[in-house]
Symmetry: C2
Subunit: 264 residues, 2 copies
């Protein structure tokens, strides 16, 4: 499919293609302007503490939607089915990755609670619109992600370190980027750190814990945002019998528009 056609796809049409097995690849850069979300499905008995973990750590875990136990149609995408409308899912058992599958209907039951959390795609579009460089997109790479020495506030069985993404830019661009992303508080919001990586426990920017390293140009500083992978580490820390998440890059595409996520 042509890149422009991919960009212009409507969110409902994309979900239909995915549900019918005609779309199996990542959703990055598709249905531009539609808000994409991280998915976490876990049993009702862990739902209070997981929601509490998200509320206590809103920068890495911004809540877009939470469904009642056993429901699969989110308010932010009427007619959608969270059991089938993502291209690829990950299943964790007892805290370890067990398998990747394309349909989780057989694993879903009336006690399953689904969470949709904001991801950074929306604010990357806003950065580009504000002429702030997004190096990972420029270089066609995955964003660089690092495990920091900062702990999230735990909740029940959920705990873990804050994971951050890094985008290099000039100081004046870092100021502009702070202004722009502050508005997007439901997709990680303002940066959590800028400058010295040491201070948050990152030894070598060239060796990210997840994703790819990107070029840092002369005069640029690293700017760090909270990252949704934080949630995955917290979910794994709880060692629940079974948790389902999206597979990296294979997100849920909602009917919300990027601008719906801004506070101002």
């Amino acid at each position: 499919m042509d890149i422009q056609i991919k960009k212009d796809l409507s969110a409902p049409r994309l979900r239909e293609l995915i549900r019918d097995g005609e779309w199996k690849t990542p959703t990055t850069g598709v249905a531009t302007g539609s808000v994409q979300a991280n998915l976490v499905m876990l049993p009702r008995e862990a739902a209070f503490h997981f929601l509490l973990f998200c509320v206590r750590n809103p920068r890495p875990c911004p809540v877009l939607d939470v469904l009642e136990p056993g429901q699969w149609e989110p308010r932010i995408a009427r007619g959608a089915d969270l059991r089938t409308d993502l291209p690829l899912y990950r299943v964790y058992r007892d805290g370890a990755l067990a398998e990747e599958i394309e349909d989780v209907t057989p694993l879903f039951n009336k006690e399953t609670v689904s969470f949709l959390l904001g991801c950074s795609f929306s604010f990357e579009s806003a950065l580009i619109a504000a002429r702030v460089p997004v190096r990972n997109l420029e270089e066609g790479k995955n964003v660089s992600m690092y495990i920091t020495n900062r702990d999230c506030i735990p909740a029940g069985p959920f705990s873990g370190p804050l994971v951050v993404t890094m985008r290099p830019m000039r100081p004046d661009q870092a100021i502009r980027a702070t202004q722009v992303t502050t508005r997007f508080h439901l997709t990680h919001g303002a940066p959590v750190h800028l400058g010295s990586p040491d201070e948050i426990g990152i030894e070598d920017l060239d060796q990210p814990d997840f994703g790819d390293p990107v070029s840092i140009l002369p005069g640029e500083i690293p700017v760090f945002w909270a990252c949704g992978v934080t949630t995955i580490l917290a979910v794994m820390s709880a060692s629940l019998p079974m948790v389902i998440t999206h597979s990296p890059g294979h997100m849920f595409v909602s009917d919300l528009r990027d601008e719906d996520l801004t506070l101002l």
Copy 2:
């Protein structure tokens, strides 16, 4: 106690006076600059759905802190005890007000989950600082509150109408008030409506459902903010065997400062 002494009281000292039974009156205008909070205590089995109700309705129900089951010391006020540190509590049984008491220790158990929610005191200070009139304070009255025709998004057993407060002001002041309160998203944020009361189901501004009517001067329009009483109605709708809340005006005074609540 002298008004200035009341204003200058530190939050920990005020909580101590309350705990020792030496302070039994409302906390309005006391310990200026310290964030005051609404309290809701309910059983663990209802905690997920109540937290979900708050997350789905952040304007009326902004979450400041949620404690683990059985805990009484909040993160936002170290050393405090939510069972004794409010001057007056209300106890609801099966959805109806049963009694008002000064100490809820005997009713608290290891399954009790406590929620602290933002109230409008913080943004009223910010409005005054921005030279926006707060008529209820000028006239020494309780703010006017109205039940609207807008429904909150329900969650499990919790549902109910949106309740709003109203402050009259000139259109230019309404614009300034919108800017100022947008920053205070953890204490109800921006207005939910301005102008025609009819549109949100309010027939007569002179007959508020709660609080007192205030004067509306020539050239002024009513400006409406989401109100914490929304939470009380939602809690009553669930008809739980027992729920504890603060008594109106008798709030929990935290160690957070007003400016900690701003997004920008």
